[in-house]
Amino acid sequence: MKAQTELSDSELLQSMLAGDEEALAALYQRRQRGVYRFAFQMCGSKTVAEDVTQEVFMVLIREGHTFDDSRGSLNAFLIGVARNHLLRRLRRERFYVSLEEDSEGDVKKKETSRTTDGPLDDLTRTERIESVRRAVLALPERYREAVVLCDLEEMSYVEAAGILGCAIGTVRSRLHRGRALLIEKLRPAYEEETAPATTKSARCFA
């Protein structure tokens, strides 16, 4: 008798569909990070990412029997469902302007992710990451998907092509284009970092 952690995704799914709640919990613990991260990196909103994650697993509960493991991994299936929900939602809400989210959770996360380099380095790193995040969010959807899947989620071209439903060459060209756009967006920040530090002196004539 295997433990839940040793079972494959397909086996867990079968158990879940047979009515085993613990199989659902194990599957959720195993796959929720990837789904949530993908949704968050695609939309930049925690609330939307949470909704999408919940909806994805709801779909798995209701329509898990439609999953065919010969066509791809369960992770790819879940990310594909998340993508469809996300795109639908983004298209529906494209006329709304979201408010900046800076909840208590963000503060906690920032506190826990501190390194030992000191507060100034932490701040610089946080700003740098934030600027990259904004640049990724500013990409057109098709390029953003490729960058998130291949560079941030570190998927292979084959997996990404399966999720996006396009050819491998298409994924590669979208990634190339997306990265080129990102370099253009982030170039001022690069130049600022690589430029020699100039001390500005100011005299007070008061």
Binding site: A18, G19, E21, E22, R33, R133, V158, R172
Partner: protein, 290 residues
């Protein structure tokens, strides 16, 4: 190798991860080597590669930061709750063999089929009830003629008037006394404005003995007609000279011009009428038929 052909490969090199030799075989190992040679010669491509590596570092940094991010625990609670509602059969996975699993699936599909049968039966009953109700309503409407029936009181029997051929269009009136029975009856009350269904059978001098008689009986059983009303511009009619009776359809508003009451709800509908044409072809009288 030139700058254009090395552009996509530079992206791969800039990603700073194992070269992704994809199954479509567009990225050959020898290409990798030729790009490295090109980079020694072309500073522009070298800068591009540098930019690509810097971007990869930043993206990696962001990905590392995101590794620890998880969805809140409330989602799992909500999912468990939903799961209990939808698949509320807590059976340990290990306890179920493949056969048992297929049985469970079979039972569920059986329940679904049973439910769908009930739904179909309920829908059929509903359709039948709606159909019967609709038919009754329709029959009720047909049994209540509008203005003409209102005036006559609706109690009198339907008149026997014309042969069935009249309905199809024009009908030459008979000139022999025995054949013109229907016309002669009508002529009696030709100028009377009061309308009531007339049973012509009672007033005809000879009862119809041919097939026409049957047709007349069938026709009159379903029709109610007003008296013939003279048209204002026409002179007195002498039917001995012959004439024609023409069945036409007119807008219901035409009844108003003859002084008949009209149900305004059905103002735009059409009404049948018989127009009596004289031998000269002029319309002499009209009656409305329902």
């Amino acid at each position: 190798m030139n700058c254009q052909s090395s552009e996509v490969i530079l992206t791969e090199l800039g990603r700073a991860r194992p070269f992704d030799y994809t199954p479509d075989q567009t990225m050959q190992p020898n290409l990798h080597q030729s790009v490295l040679v090109h980079l020694d010669e072309c500073t522009e491509c070298a800068v591009k590669l540098q930019d690509g590596r810097a971007l990869s570092n930043r993206l990696e940094e962001m990905a590392r930061e995101m590794k620890s991010v998880t969805a809140p625990a409330s989602i799992e609670k909500q999912l468990r709750k939903t799961f209990r509602q939808t698949l509320s059969r807590p059976v340990p996975a290990s306890a179920l063999s493949m056969r048992q699993r297929s049985e469970v699936r079979g039972q569920r599909s059986e329940i679904r089929v049973r439910w769908s049968r009930w739904v179909v039966a309920a829908a059929a009953v509903l359709l039948i009830v709606l159909g019967i109700t609709g038919l009754r309503l329709r029959a009720g409407r047909q049994s209540q003629p509008e203005s003409v029936r209102a005036e006559t009181g609706g109690a009198q029997p339907a008149p026997k008037e014309l042969p069935s051929s009249v309905e199809a269009g024009t009908n030459r009136l008979p000139s022999k006394p025995s054949e013109k029975s229907t016309v002669s009856v009508k002529r009696k009350n030709l100028y009377s404005r009061t309308t009531h269904p007339v049973n012509h059978n009672k007033k005809t001098s000879q009862p119809p003995t041919t097939e026409t008689a049957t047709a007349i009986a069938n026709d009159t059983a379903s029709e109610v007609a007003t008296q013939f009303m003279p048209l204002a511009y026409a002179g007195p009619i002498n039917l001995q000279d012959g004439g024609q009776l023409v069945r036409v359809e007119l807008p219901r508003s035409a009844m108003l011009s003859m002084g008949l009451p009209v149900n305004m709800d059905r103002y735009s509908e059409r009404v049948k009428a018989d127009v009596l044409l004289g031998a000269d072809g002029l319309a002499r009288a009209i009656r409305f038929v329902q």
